[in-house]
């Protein structure tokens, strides 16, 4: 089947436990994810949503797999942009693997359609979010405060 995919890999000086917590604790996600809270009970089948500080739901879905601190799979649908929402549900997989004194984080985000605008959009977003996450865990502060669309 036709598919659009974005893959982003980085290595972070942290432990799998701390990285898992950074990915699943909304008080932590809002520090590096431009104020966004990633909320869920993080059990397979439970609902998931990405919400702004004002409570607006940007994306929502459900947890497909949750294997702390190794693997998280989320069924993920955009809710704020009608064109992106109409593309349907995507799948986002986050894999954590110890690598020496660091953790390899692989984010794979895909949707079952050719030329997806949703995947083009997240391809620009993930490098910002993950760059911020890496800086926050390694140095205590993020690199970008604002999400500038032109970049």
């Amino acid at each position: 089947m036709a598919r659009s995919t974005c893959v982003y890999v980085t290595y972070i000086r942290t432990t799998p436990e701390k990285l898992w917590s950074a990915l699943t604790d909304p008080k932590f996600t809002e520090q590096y994810w431009f104020g966004m809270r990633s909320e869920s009970p993080w059990k397979a089948g439970s609902p998931w949503k990405l919400v702004t500080a004002a409570g607006e739901v940007l994306d929502s879905g459900e947890i497909v797999e949750s294997d702390p601190p190794r693997r998280l799979v989320i069924r993920w649908q955009n809710q704020w942009n009608p064109e992106l929402k109409a593309e349907g549900v995507s799948l986002c997989t986050m894999e954590l693997e110890p690598h020496g004194t660091a953790v390899k984080l692989t984010v794979t985000h895909s949707i079952e359609r050719d030329g997806s605008k949703f995947i083009v959009s997240v391809s620009g977003g993930w490098p910002k979010v993950i760059s911020n996450l890496k800086s926050l865990l390694e140095t205590g502060s993020v690199v970008l405060q604002d999400y500038e669309r032109k970049h």
Binding site: G124, P127, K134, L144
Partner: protein, 147 residues
């Protein structure tokens, strides 16, 4: 033409001047690039070489574009693996753009060959090198000591 490409973007809390220096000073590249020295005079047409710590060449080529603090394009040919070498020279482009208090670094490495094995290999290496570069510039030490 059929082409294989690897694209990577990262944001680094640094100035364009320091990032440019980190990309073009062999004594800095060896700190985050697992001992490799990226050596050139960094002028258009000048030769370029990525050397192992013992001085042997790993990749060679020439500078196609050099616009300090902004853009670097290197004609890039692997010279240690016959299978990679047979795919011919590729091109690696590095673009630096100021983004608030950070610099956006965009790296694009491509070879004019479908399903390039060299690009598949490079796709595994670049995230390690660039994660090390970001950690070195932001925290003073790399994240991975060995490849």
């Amino acid at each position: 033409m059929a082409r294989s490409t690897f694209d990577y973007v990262t944001y680094i809390r640094v100035t364009p001047e320091r990032l440019w220096q980190a990309l073009t000073d062999a004594s800095i590249t060896q700190q985050y690039w697992f001992g490799m020295r990226s050596e050139s005079r960094w002028a258009v047409g000048s030769s370029w070489q990525l050397s192992f710590p013992d001085g042997r060449a790993c990749d060679t080529g020439e500078i196609v574009e050099a616009e300090p603090l902004r853009r670097l394009a290197i004609r890039w040919q692997n010279v240690v693996n016959p299978e990679f070498e047979a795919e011919g020279a590729g091109q690696c482009t590095m673009e630096l753009e100021t983004s608030g208090p950070a610099v956006k670094l965009t790296l694009t490495h491509s070879v004019d060959c479908e399903r390039s094995k060299y690009i598949a290999a490079a796709s595994g290496v670049w995230p390690k090198v660039l994660a090390n570069l970001k950690s070195l510039l932001e925290s003073g030490s790399v994240v991975l000591e060995s490849y």
